[in-house]
């Protein structure tokens, strides 16, 4: 497996919505390389005919009766929000100015 470059770390950070510093790029590149080399061993034993296991218990779709039950009030739902306005979450601007 090829070594992880600074550019790849920067790309992963962008995908992960993580603003990382220049110093962190170097640190993470080295560390991710060690981790990924170590975990790549999983490919040594797995044959094509082995089914994957995603969960240790069989997953079933769980539905409840469609009955109205009390939920959080708007005030409760917004109680931990960094910012709120008019009973809604207020977010930073989404569109660029030129948009």
């Amino acid at each position: 497996m090829a070594a992880i470059s600074r550019e790849e770390v920067a790309h992963l950070a962008r995908l992960s919505r993580l603003a990382v510093t220049e110093t962190e790029l170097d640190t993470f590149a080295g560390q991710l390389d060690v981790i990924l080399q170590a975990v790549a061993r999983v490919g040594e034993v797995t044959a094509a005919d082995i089914p994957p296991t995603s969960h240790s218990v069989p997953l079933t779709n769980v539905l409840r009766d469609d009955v109205v039950v009390p939920g959080l009030t708007p005030a409760e739902a917004l109680s931990g929000a960094p910012d709120a306005e008019d009973n809604r979450f207020r977010v930073p601007r989404i569109l660029d100015e030129e948009a």
């Binding site: 560390q31 991710l32 170590a38 975990v39 999983v42 240790s56 218990v57 739902a77 931990g80």
Partner: protein
């Protein structure tokens, strides 16, 4: 009455039920102990003294009114800060949730309250339960009461240290790759990971959803079983919750305490013996414990689990992959921290800055590893293969349990290490979970119980059982406890 903080949960509940001591007295004794020692131990991130005393008063009033109390009524419990507690701060050890007070209780906390236990507060942990030493808490590390220069294990180091420091008789942990058992081992306490799906994850701040399992922490096996019985069982709000009752773990613990294991077959995993990095003192204490189990009538045989050596790499692909998805919700919009919102930066920039400021290094590492493993072109090579390894490990367990009743191993390869000694190399830190991880991938229950000392520090023995055979592991653990006894840390 003797120092109330030295009593077991079983003893406290009996005294409260008999009216020999009030729940308020018990609670005050533990709050006083926390005030006296927690500055040095740092087991707690938040102490809810008022809430605890209110809960204790309610128990006392119910008793005075002649109500029948549950088996743990009036017993204080410390809760890992990864479970939501209505109105009480819940941070998961992270800056990104600093000050967040959830508007709802997790199912487990709801059940603890209904059972009349008294929640003392929230315990320290590695950020989002990612770590093996509680050094990755954003609020500073917890220190091991056996030696304050050493780690208390992770990620539930706060819960385990609270027990070892006599700040609480019971605590709740969560175990994704060993985060209940490993801290239990290195603090000389008992920690059990129930069968996955046997305890509810509703209201648990998710790290790796297919692995996360809440469980009990205590100073004795019987106390752990009592807590397990109170917190466990089917929860319709958790789609992975198993719709079956919890096996009778309390009866199993009582049966094991008689010290008779006649007819039980215990399996030693051959591959664990050859894994590098195990300390001789740990191996010696484990061997002595195996001899003790043999004297109790158990038959000990060697079994092979050839794929266990691939558990660690598989885990460190699956867990980061799930975490990269689960932690996407921490974006500075609906709760927690928001950074860089100056009216100029875009939503995307604010999200990235918030997550940069809010997450610590280990969380960022795992998010990026997970993002890499799930990304186009790498999915088949990493995540897909890891899920196949999970199948192979489950097959190993199934084959082993056709030969033996339970598997036993040391819980950790080494005793508590000095703070800072493994943080420079993340993969070295991951090795701390070498013996605990296979169980999480398989989904079965496992418990760590103290089995002796090495260099004056506790060593844990792990008992692993088939899924939904949690009672079997309690029986073996209680039997070992009857032979070895509990460990008493030096005075703080």
């Amino acid at each position: 009455m003797a120092d109330l903080t030295r009593l077991t949960a079983t003893e406290i509940a009996a005294h409260v039920a008999a009216g020999e001591v009030s729940a308020v007295e018990v609670t005050r004794a533990h709050l006083d102990r926390i005030a006296a020692v927690d500055e040095r131990v740092h087991a707690f991130l938040h102490v809810d003294a008022d809430g605890a005393l209110d809960a204790a008063r309610t128990v006392d009033a119910r008793r005075a009114a002649g109500e029948e109390l549950g088996p743990l009524a009036g017993v204080p419990v410390a809760v890992k800060d990864v479970l939501t507690t209505r109105g009480v701060p819940t941070t998961a050890g992270s800056r990104i949730l600093e000050g967040w007070r959830p508007p709802y209780d997790s199912t487990i906390v709801e059940r603890l309250r209904a059972a009349g236990t008294v929640m003392l507060g929230k315990t320290n942990m590695d950020e989002f339960a990612m770590g093996s030493s509680t050094e990755y808490s954003a609020y500073g590390p917890t220190f091991n009461p056996w030696d304050l220069s050493r780690i208390p294990g992770g990620s539930g180091g706060g819960s385990a240290a609270a027990l070892a420091a006599y700040e609480a008789p019971l605590a709740i942990g969560t175990d994704t790759g060993g985060s209940i058992r490993q801290p239990g081992a290195v603090t000389g306490t008992v920690g059990a990971k129930p069968t996955y799906g046997g305890t509810s994850r509703y209201g648990l701040v998710a790290f790796s959803s297919s692995l996360d399992t809440p469980g009990p922490c205590a100073r004795t096996v019987l106390d752990a079983a009592l807590l397990h019985a109170v917190m466990g069982g089917h929860d319709p709000r958790d789609s992975t919750s198993i719709p079956q009752p919890v096996p009778d773990v309390v009866a199993a613990a009582r049966a094991g305490a008689t010290g008779d294991l006649t007819g039980m077959r215990l399996g030693l995993v051959r591959e664990f013996a050859t894994e590098a990095g195990g300390e001789p003192g740990v191996t010696a204490a484990f061997r002595d414990a195996v001899d003790a189990l043999t004297k109790l009538g158990a038959e000990v045989v060697e079994v092979s689990c050839p794929h266990f050596e691939y558990a660690l790499p598989a885990y460190y692909l699956i867990a980061p992959s799930e975490c990269s998805s689960n932690l996407a919700r921490f974006d500075g919009v609906r709760f927690g921290l928001r950074a860089g919102d100056d009216g100029v930066r875009s939503l995307e920039e604010v999200m990235s800055l918030t997550r940069d400021v809010g997450f610590g290094a280990e969380v960022k590492r795992r998010i990026m590893v997970g993002t890499y493993a799930l990304s186009s072109g790498y999915y088949d090579a990493y995540y897909g293969q890891a899920q196949k390894v999970r199948t192979l490990i489950s097959r190993d367990f199934t084959a082993a349990f056709e030969q033996v009743d339970v598997l036993i191993s040391p819980t950790t390869p080494f005793v508590a290490f000095p703070l800072g000694s493994r943080t420079a190399d993340p993969y070295q830190m991951y090795l701390a979970d070498l013996f605990t991880i296979p169980t999480n991938l398989y989904g079965g229950p496992a418990i760590s119980v103290p089995c002796g000392l090495s260099e004056g520090l506790p060593v844990g023995l792990q008992v692993m059982a088939p899924t939904m055979a949690d009672d079997r592991m309690y029986r073996v653990a209680a039997a070992l406890e009857s032979a070895v006894g509990t460990l008493t840390p030096p005075a703080l």
